[in-house]
């Protein structure tokens, strides 16, 4: 360089500068040089078009076919004029959607081609458009997960909605109602014995907690008693739809056709439950109360079953919490996010399982259904976190007209299992609480006692909320349950029965294949 003249140096420098300028210019404009929009254009209306501006890409199958020429507001809708490049044509039944390039990339309009042989005319309007979802494309990215959930819920509603399902459900319900009718008859015919049984059961549940904690041997005994009791109702009931049906009709047959046998069974039950209540047999006053309770119970049973039907209908229609949960996109999205996040977590930790569940119950005193939505995160087999949302139906008793909007209750608690006992603690129905689960009969049976709301619910209920539930899992993912809530508070005390599902996310497919 030393002997170079200044002119030569400058020449080299300038030429290098122009070379770079040319390269940069070409790099920036390379693609755009050929993308001048042609004469064809059409109009799409969107409900909302956030993020799409003039010059935004218009793509079909990911290939750029044009760009947005103009975005205007017309009748409170976004009117988007799309200019097409070259010879591209768009079938007139295509659907325009707003998409994002990647997580943070700019928005573009994706045209999903239709099948129509005719094209959108120049200057015409493409009728179909889907607005971008509210929670943005982060959620769109998780649509795979969303689809999974959709399938599940679709199947769920189909199974209840399809003729077959409906028929099945109907027969279950009619069987159950027949059963309860027959039960009433039985009650009429066997008042004495039944009263005894009921008293026994009543007493048994009252002291259940005590017995369970104090006497493990007795617990085993009672579980085997319950076992034989259930056997009398439905022998080896592994699958719900078939076997519950059979069981129910079996019971009915049993009840109506074979009264003597029933009597025997009754005495069996009486004998079995007798272990619990030796001390209580003499307490006649309670019998009467129990009798009265049973009468109500049998009436309620009918109601409950009718309500199950209502609940499922509601789910289908998208009413109530579960209904909302399964129908509303926003909830979906939130759920999906959670699931997706949990999924990632699962990937990282390997063993973690994420389960989701839902259940609906009919509450006798409220004469209303209450539904729950749950997410169970299981980092280890013996430990899980439960997140649950439900409605507070008690409000309908105390204040205001019925069907006013129920406030939501949230639970978030941690649970750890030791052998057949699970201890739980955390937030339960929006207040601090602890609980105990007892598992028996190869985990097909679960007895739950939860105590929370220690300072009481309101002036009508000053004692802690005590909730006792018995769940029966005829099958891994499905359960039926009965129980009582607010047992310590007379005002809100209620009994309930319901049906629910709970399955780990990766088990869904298995679940569906087996169940539906």
């Amino acid at each position: 360089m030393k002997n170079w003249t200044n002119e030569a140096k400058l020449g080299v420098f300038i030429i290098a500068g122009f070379a770079v300028l040319f390269w940069l210019t070409f790099s920036i404009g390379g693609k755009k040089l050929f993308s001048v929009t042609g004469k064809k254009s059409f109009i799409v209306y969107f409900k909302t078009i956030t993020g799409v501006t003039e010059k935004s890409d218009v793509r079909m199958a990911g290939v750029k076919i044009g760009e947005v020429k103009k975005v205007e507001l017309e009748n409170y809708r976004a009117k988007v004029t799309v200019g097409l490049h070259g010879d591209y044509d768009v079938p007139d039944d295509s659907v325009a959607t707003v998409q994002g390039k990647g997580l943070l990339g700019e928005k573009f309009i994706e045209i999903r081609p239709g099948f129509s042989p005719t094209y959108v005319s120049n200057g015409g309007v493409l009728a179909n458009s889907i607005p971008p979802s509210n929670i943005d494309d982060m959620v769109a990215k998780l649509s795979a997960a969303l689809d999974d959930i959709k399938t599940v819920t679709n199947s769920l509603s189909e199974s209840f909605g399809s003729e077959e399902g409906k028929q099945g459900l109907k027969s279950i319900i009619s069987n159950l109602s027949n059963l309860s009718k027959d039960l009433n008859d039985v009650v009429g015919g066997n008042k004495e014995k039944l009263t005894q049984i009921i008293t026994n059961v009543d007493k048994a549940t009252a002291v259940l907690q005590l017995i369970l904690t104090e006497n493990r041997e007795n617990l085993r005994g009672s579980i085997s008693n319950l076992n034989s009791m259930s056997k009398s109702f439905a022998e080896k009931a592994p699958d719900l739809l078939e076997h519950l049906d059979q069981a129910a009709s079996g019971i009915r047959d049993m009840v109506s056709d074979n009264r003597t046998n029933l009597k025997d069974s009754m005495s069996n039950i009486k004998e079995a439950s007798g272990n619990f209540n030796g001390v209580l047999v003499e307490n006649r006053e309670n019998f009467k109360v129990a009798m009265a309770n049973l009468k109500t119970s049998s009436e309620k049973l009918d109601e409950i079953m009718a309500s199950v039907k209502k609940i499922t209908a509601k789910i289908e229609k998208g009413e109530g919490t579960i209904g909302k949960l399964v129908q509303e996109e926003e909830v979906y999205n939130g759920l999906n996010e959670t699931l997706e996040g949990a999924k990632n977590l699962t990937k990282q930790t390997g063993a973690m399982k994420v389960g989701i569940g839902a259940r609906a119950e009919y509450q006798s005193e409220m004469q209303q259904s209450k539904s729950y939505f749950s997410i169970r995160v299981k980092p280890r087999e013996d430990k899980y976190y439960m997140i649950e949302v439900s409605e507070d139906v008690r409000r309908n008793l105390g204040t205001g007209p019925r069907n006013t909007l129920n406030s939501l209750l949230y639970s978030f608690y941690i649970a750890k299992r030791f052998g057949n006992v699970t201890i739980k603690g955390g937030l339960m129905e929006s207040s601090g609480g602890v609980g105990l689960d007892l598992h028996g009969w190869e985990d097909k049976l679960m007895l739950t006692a939860d105590v929370f709301n220690f300072s009481g619910y309101d002036n009508n209920a000053k004692s802690p909320q005590v909730k006792v539930t018995a769940k029966y899992f005829p099958q891994k993912y499905l359960f039926l349950y009965v129980g009582g809530d607010e047992l310590a508070n007379k005002y809100y005390r209620t009994f309930f029965g319901g049906i629910g599902i709970m399955a780990d996310e990766e088990d869904f497919k298995f679940f569906m294949a087996r169940f539906f």
């Binding site: 770079v20 210019t25 790099s27």
Partner: protein, 270 residues
């Protein structure tokens, strides 16, 4: 006593203001003179070529160094940030846009101010204190025409050239780090670099750099031209020139950015 202090303060404020107005006036006059001689022919292209080599070609190594490492650091830093929400592919975009729109022009301007602007001040200052500028006058040669105009031409024309190169080198630096160190896909990186870039991003950067070049050379010459106080004065003038140059560049950068990018254009894009 109190009166004295009060009057003294007022006098100080007054004198300071007068000095400032004078300096602004002088500067304005200087710029006006420069513009006048810029428009007069013949331009002394020989001197301009020398200055172009000085400002342009000879500044290239330090601009190269600065832009290269800036691009590399940008890639590293933005990668760290973007990784946290899985947008690593945007590193190229950030490096490209930052370099062309902002860092290319501004860093080049700062580097050239330090290197060539200060040299201009030192040269002209020395000429002033050794009476060479007076000598030019006595030889009926206007020093603005002979000394200032070629430097202003060189500064204004060479800054964009240097900036283009800085843009390129910065993008290259980011590319090297992203591909070699961070394992980015080279093709995707380049694609992302230019995917969101528009002509406006680069050309407004170049327009900026032209203004910067003008500022650098005018300030450098002005400070040198009015140097007083011998060798020491040359030192002071050089410092002043760099400080004033930096401040005016930042000020102009803001104004230009507001003007160039504010109404739509590339500004709204990212």
């Amino acid at each position: 006593m109190l009166k004295k202090i009060a009057v003294g303060t007022l006098e100080f404020v007054g004198r300071y203001t007068i000095d400032m107005v004078k300096a602004i006036g002088l500067m304005g006059e200087f710029v006006g003179d420069t513009m006048k001689w810029l428009s007069r022919k013949p331009l002394r292209m020989g001197a301009a070529v020398d200055q172009m080599v000085e400002v342009g070609a000879n500044s290239f190594p330090v601009v190269f160094f600065t832009a290269m490492f800036t691009g590399m650091v940008l890639a590293l830093q933005s990668h760290t940030g973007f990784k946290r929400f899985g947008a690593e592919s945007m590193v190229g975009t950030v490096v490209g846009l930052s370099m062309t729109r902002e860092l290319g022009p501004v860093l080049t301007a700062l580097v050239v101010t330090g290197r060539a602007g200060s040299a201009m001040t030192a040269q002209l200052g020395t000429m002033r204190v050794t009476e060479q500028i007076d000598a030019l006058y006595t030889l009926a040669a206007n020093p603005i025409k002979y000394l200032v105009v070629p430097r202003v031409i060189a500064g204004t024309l060479m800054l964009p050239v240097l900036t283009v190169m800085a843009d390129f080198v910065g993008i290259l630096g980011g590319f090297v780090v992203a591909v070699m160190l961070l394992g980015a896909n080279p093709v995707l990186y380049m694609e992302k670099t230019f995917e969101f870039m528009e002509y406006n991003d680069m050309f407004s950067g170049l327009l900026k750099s032209m203004v910067f070049g003008f500022i650098i050379s005018v300030v450098g010459c002005y400070q040198g031209f009015y140097t007083e106080g011998g060798a020491e004065g040359v030192g002071t003038a050089t410092t002043k020139s760099v400080v004033m140059g930096f401040m005016l560049i930042f000020l102009a950068n803001y104004i230009l950015t507001a003007l160039l990018f504010s109404n739509g254009g590339g500004g709204a894009k990212f």
